[in-house]
Amino acid sequence: MINFPRLFGGRTASAPVARERLQILLAHERGLCGQPELLELLRSEILAVVSRHVTLDAEKVRVTMDRGNLVSMLEIDIEVPNSAEGWAVAS
């Protein structure tokens, strides 16, 4: 089928998508303040501390940083299994 909008130049602009993707990505990358390993470091240390008391799946620990104008939000998501052994103190 003939793509009429495209034929008449009404193609959807991709530049706004590019702009938005870049803004999100760079906000994240700049938030690390030249410490690209910071989030990974936080993730592994938090994992180590929590693992002392709770059996965790390393894959289920998520650390993200949302950068705002005045403050940033450090978000830590840890998924803990509901089984009894999940809460066993691993010491």
Binding site: F8, G9, A15, Q23
Partner: protein
């Protein structure tokens, strides 16, 4: 007082070498004494773009290692008596450049030239770091395209943290040079616009170089684009950029789009 200017981008193929040659030639045409240094060890190209590829005898690394002195390695342009080239080595590996050696040579060049323009290799490795290390000012070459803008953002971060000036608590003055800009495509929303790029990178604009056949034509014959056809659109854009480097206040104009046949037929307006 001599100024050390690094032309950098992070991403490859955006026009660092072309811009180095064009800005260097434009400054030399304005009477400034200019040396352009190729930091791309192993993959030199500035000699080729300047049409000096058959005149290279000694190179940057020979001078760093004390095998040759500066006056033996510097190549004077045949068309512009104020323009000189310090070529990169084609055979050595990039580890042959040392920070101490580069610093020593740049200090010596500072006593002889008004502008020392360092053409950075792509990437963020040793060569690129050394090219920016002693810079007073930086031209960040960016294409209006997502990967180039992201890499430029990264490079801007490094200019603010990894240069000798930054470590002294001073600032490397940064200029944004947008190359390969296609106004028609930007107007149709197919390419990041100038506003998009400046909003995102928040850096002062040095110039906008439109996508043009003239750039390729000039490098084919080994001429800086400002010298090959001084009245071409990219040559004028580079010359204005060079004037801004000299401190002139010239408004940055977004190049006008050439209307295509379909645009004319449909009466579409190019922004």
């Amino acid at each position: 007082m001599a100024k050390v200017l690094v032309v950098t981008s992070g991403k490859g193929g955006v026009g660092k070498t072309t811009s180095t040659a064009a800005l260097g030639a434009a400054l030399a045409q304005m009477g400034e004494k200019v040396v352009v240094i190729d930091f791309d060890v192993g993959l030199r190209n500035l000699d080729l773009v300047l049409g000096a590829e058959r005149r290279v005898v000694f190179d940057f690394i020979n001078v760093v290692q004390g095998i040759a002195n500066l006056s033996q390695a510097l190549i004077r342009d045949k068309r512009l008596e104020n323009l000189w080239l310090l070529p990169a080595s084609q055979t050595r590996d990039k580890d042959a450049l040392t920070e101490e050696g580069v610093g020593r040579i740049i200090a010596e060049l500072r006593t002889k030239f008004d502008w020392i323009i360092c053409d950075s290799p792509a990437g963020i490795e040793r060569g690129a770091m050394l090219a920016m290390r002693f810079a007073d000012e930086a031209v960040v070459v960016t294409n209006p395209e997502v990967s180039s803008v992201r890499d430029s953002d990264r490079i801007i971060g490094m200019l603010d943290s990894k240069t000798a000036k930054a470590e002294k608590g001073e600032q490397v003055q940064k200029h944004l040079l947008i190359t390969r800009y296609d106004t028609g495509r930007a107007a149709r929303g197919e390419m990041l616009s100038i506003n998009d790029v400046t909003d995102i990178l928040a850096t002062e604009m040095l110039g906008i170089i439109p996508e043009s056949q003239d750039v390729l034509r000039a490098s084919n014959v080994g001429m800086p684009v400002t010298l090959n056809d001084a009245n071409s659109v990219p040559a004028r854009a580079y010359t204005d950029a060079a004037r801004r480097l000299m401190g002139a206040t010239i408004p940055v104009l977004v190049p006008a789009a050439r209307k295509g046949l379909m645009d004319r037929l449909l009466g579409r307006r190019a922004a």
